[in-house]
């Protein structure tokens, strides 16, 4: 452990990310900025975590480092030279494993070496070595579909390690696994890393699991969204193996929650509550959150032991929700002014308490009132339907409007979200067959 710490201090930067910006094209006009002015250095001997909500651009950054995409501005230097395309010293582990189903475990691991054009014997020798290291012996001739998720990700790890990369990139590598398997794999990997058995110099991992980040990383970059940038860098200098119940561990976790629920700085000062979704007015991007989740979270916070105010890490662990699941629901409650999220806590407003306590019909009425008041797109659709003599409007009318402000996918997702909320609130009807909104349900 001590040697690692010294290395962290002494290590020279392997990777420099300087003022990187990335944007994706949308309907018309300005491209959507997903990363803005991201700068950091990766040093020899450290594990760096990129942590943030979905949409904060952390995976995009990882893909830029992997050379799978190119930034529109800024530069990424790998070992002092600008990166252009996938580099031989950077290997990636994928969330979905990305194994070739027609290749056996051994063949999957050998693939990266074949691409290097090494001699047959050496390929075999090194592949078997990696398989051995990662605990896959005996599975050489198995096909991925015969393996459990945990074993598959071990193949993914072996495949990345076998090329002896300088930097190992992990894109939510443990998030597709069940809790127990993920923990085993994390511990195994950490043990190998601490014992210096891994043929790598540094690790960059993307995660949305705060505890995972604190458990594994030497440094954690907390990203905020719209556009994604590094809000804060936290050092984790606890010795390995780390204990989740250690007060210092909890402290760091709490600090990250506070950081991630901090109010965005840039918005108007007059607002009492700030919405976290990108875009203004009807162009706000909405998440597809079911009304069941909205009610469920409100009820959980209203009930004991929280009584209207809950610590996010606490309620996340009680509800078995990761932040990628929890934050969008909390943000939606905030959008509807049923709750306020701040400093790692979520607090129900008076309306929120009434919402949580109400019976079905009253709850729907309350939801409808807040939907019209605080979600401009829902109010807009309702108004258009009222103004039209037929009380009908095609979906494309609103979709076109949205596509001016966001990508086609987000426009579709946003409209889907508002349809689902509007249906629950009985604000309007929508028929997928006809692709049209209606004010009232058909009489029959």
């Amino acid at each position: 452990m001590a040697t690692r710490t010294i290395q962290t201090i002494a290590g020279e930067p392997i990777l420099r990310v300087k003022g990187v910006r990335q944007a994706f094209p949308r309907g018309d006009g300005e491209p959507l900025l997903v990363l803005d002015d991201v700068t950091f250095e990766l040093r020899k001997g450290e594990i760096v975590g990129l942590l943030g909500r979905s949409g904060s651009g952390k995976s995009t950054l990882l893909r830029l480092i992997a050379g799978l995409a190119r930034p529109i501005a800024g530069a990424i230097d790998y070992r002092g030279a600008p990166l252009s395309g996938p580099a031989s010293g950077i290997a990636m582990v994928f969330q979905t494993f990305a194994l070739f189903p027609w290749l056996s475990v051994l063949e999957n691991v050998e693939l990266g070496l074949e691409a290097l054009g090494l001699p047959r014997d050496e390929i075999r020798r090194r592949a078997l070595g990696a398989i051995d290291l990662i605990g896959l012996d005996g599975f050489e001739s198995a096909y991925p579909k015969e393996l459990s998720g945990g074993m598959r990700q071990r193949v993914g790890l072996a495949r990345a390690l076998v090329v002896h990369p300088t930097i190992l990139l992990m894109d939510e590598a443990f998030s597709a696994l069940d809790v127990l398997t993920a923990e085993t794999l994390r511990t195994d990997l950490l043990d190998l890393w601490i014992e210096g058995q891994l043929p790598i110099d540094a690790v960059v991992m993307v995660t949305h699991n705060i505890e995972e980040a604190v458990l594994m990383c030497d440094r954690v970059m907390v990203f905020t969204a719209n556009p994604g940038h590094i809000a804060r860098e936290l050092k984790v200098d606890l010795p390995h193996p780390r204990d989740r119940e250690d007060p210092r561990f909890r402290e760091i976790v709490e600090a990250i929650y506070v950081e991630m629920t901090a109010r965005p700085m840039s918005r108007g000062a007059g607002h009492a509550v700030v919405d976290r979704f990108p875009g203004m007015g009807i162009a706000m991007q909405l998440p597809r959150i079911s009304s069941n989740l909205i009610s469920g979270l409100a009820e959980a916070i209203a009930g004991s032991p929280y009584e209207g105010r809950a610590d996010l890490p606490e309620i996340a662990s009680e509800l078995h929700m990761e932040i990628d699941d929890l934050f969008p629901v909390a943000d939606t409650l905030q959008l509807l002014r049923f709750a306020e999220v701040e400093r790692g806590d979520i607090r129900l407003t008076d309306a929120g308490k009434a919402f949580a306590a109400a019976e079905v019909d009253e709850r729907k009425r309350l939801f409808a009132r807040h939907l019209v008041a605080y979600v401009p797109l829902a109010a807009h659709i309702r108004r258009v339907l009222e103004e039209r003599a037929s009380h009908q409007a095609p979906k494309s009318r609103f979709l076109d409007e949205l596509e001016d402000h966001m990508t086609d996918q987000y426009a579709e997702a946003t409209l889907r979200a508002v349809i689902s909320w509007g249906r629950y609130a009985e604000l309007f009807e929508y028929s997928d067959d006809a692709g049209a909104f209606r004010l009232e349900a058909p009489a029959s």
Binding site: A66, L68, P86, A98, P101, W102, E114, A115, G117, E140
Partner: protein, 577 residues
Amino acid sequence: MKLFRPPVSVTAGRFAPSAWDGGAAAIVLALFVMIAAAAHGMLAPLSTLAVEPVSLDPVNLPYYALRTTVRMLLALACSIVFTFTYATLAAKSRRAELILVPILDILQSVPILGFISLTIVGFMALAPGRVLGAELAAIFAIFTSQAWNMAFSFYQSLRTLPGDLDEACRSFRLSPWLRFWRAEVPFALPALVWNMMMSMSGGWFFVVASEALTVGNTTITLPGIGSYIALAIKARDMTAVVWAVASMALVILVYDQLMFRPLVAWADRFRAEQTPGAPAATSWALTMIRRARLIRIVITAIARVVRWLRGRPSVRLPRAPGVLGRLLASRAADRVWAAAVAVVALLAIWRIGQFVSTALSVADVVTALGLGSVTFLRVAVLIALASVIWVPVGIYVGLRPQLAAAVQPAAQFLAAFPANLLFPAAVVGIVHFHLDPDIWLSPLMILGTQWYILFNVVAGASAFPGDLRDVAANLGLRGWLRWRKALLPAVFPYYVTGAITASGGSWNASIVAEVASWGDTRLAAHGIGAYIARATAAGDYARIVLGIAVMSAFVIVVNRLVWRPLYAYAERRLRLD
């Protein structure tokens, strides 16, 4: 269990022949002998055809069957090469795609039988005085019936390689060559094998037409099952027709067992997602190949060559540097390219118009359109009839796994049977009962293609989820309600796929099926197929072009206006996953 074993030849046990070796060796030897015989016939001087004309003596049938088989195999090999190059180019280059995909789309929905006679002269010139020239022309004709759907399926697979696999390839810096063999071809294989089987069935249709070639005034008849059938029909020899049918059935069976079954079973492991519970395809021939050590030695050697090929560090395509490179890759350059393509297309249309208009009048176009409508009506009625019959049967069969296992291969087998074989019965019947050929020739069109509806519906019903079945039973759904609310919607996506294939095939078949002959008796129905067939027989290129253009227009319009919306609807609303 360790994966590593010493090299094949070292261990004593490895060389002890297994029981499978006997059968395998016999088959391999027989194949060598047969290929040699066929090659000998192909390279013979042209005059031998006159000395040894095709005879109806059934003793010759095995040899004819062999020649036809080799022809079809060679055509299939050409189709695979074509698929790997054409489809890859279309998928990799944005600009090539702009031209290649529409061309493919049209080629795969249009019969180009009529144009075959144009190419013969060229092929004859390649090998003057030898049978080889005519052979090449015949192989080309069969190739044109096989290649398009294979290329299209491969193109679609290349475009739908899962995103994470694509990123893995790029992240591990696989060369384009390695990526092609390690990722893209395996991913495309299951669909490609399936399309190869369909192509083979389609090829039989053309065999009869392609083995008798006309150059100017002389007709070259290549020895083969196709020309045997043609001769038998001309001579009104019913016994010979029965012999031909029998040997054709045998050839199709051998093909199925020795080639496609093993291929399907082998390609099964390349499926990207494995539906749990789906029975794995099995094949005795594949088992034999895997168990027989002699064959395995051969395969290991081949695999080594393939690996060597694959391992070649390939040259990366150089990119034009600097400003020029950026300019070439820009969107503006794309537009210039699109404009250039449009100009060339317009020129081509103008040129065709010019060619056709010197020989044809507006009245001809009106006639062709009218005949096209008649054939359209015929296809529509036939598809409707086939649906009414085969959808219920298919669902009934599909819900009973054991029955389905027996029916599926039979339906695939029947799909390979060309309509020509039923001509004698049809003609004799129509003449005897004084029936209207406009109506009674029609069933021949759908004879081979109706099976696509059946086996797709069977597949759909087999995939009907158990929980939905249980819930239907639990709710007491029965009779029409059960069909309307549960079964029919569940098989609809499969049905649409089958019906698209059946309808496309029927248009193609109309060229053969709207004109039937038995000896001197010729029956013709009104329709665009008969029109093209007549024009082809007369060598009237203007009318061939017109007929094919009209048929293509009908096929494309029907695809766009009927099938595509139905398909989209099925994808959107009725998919079960």
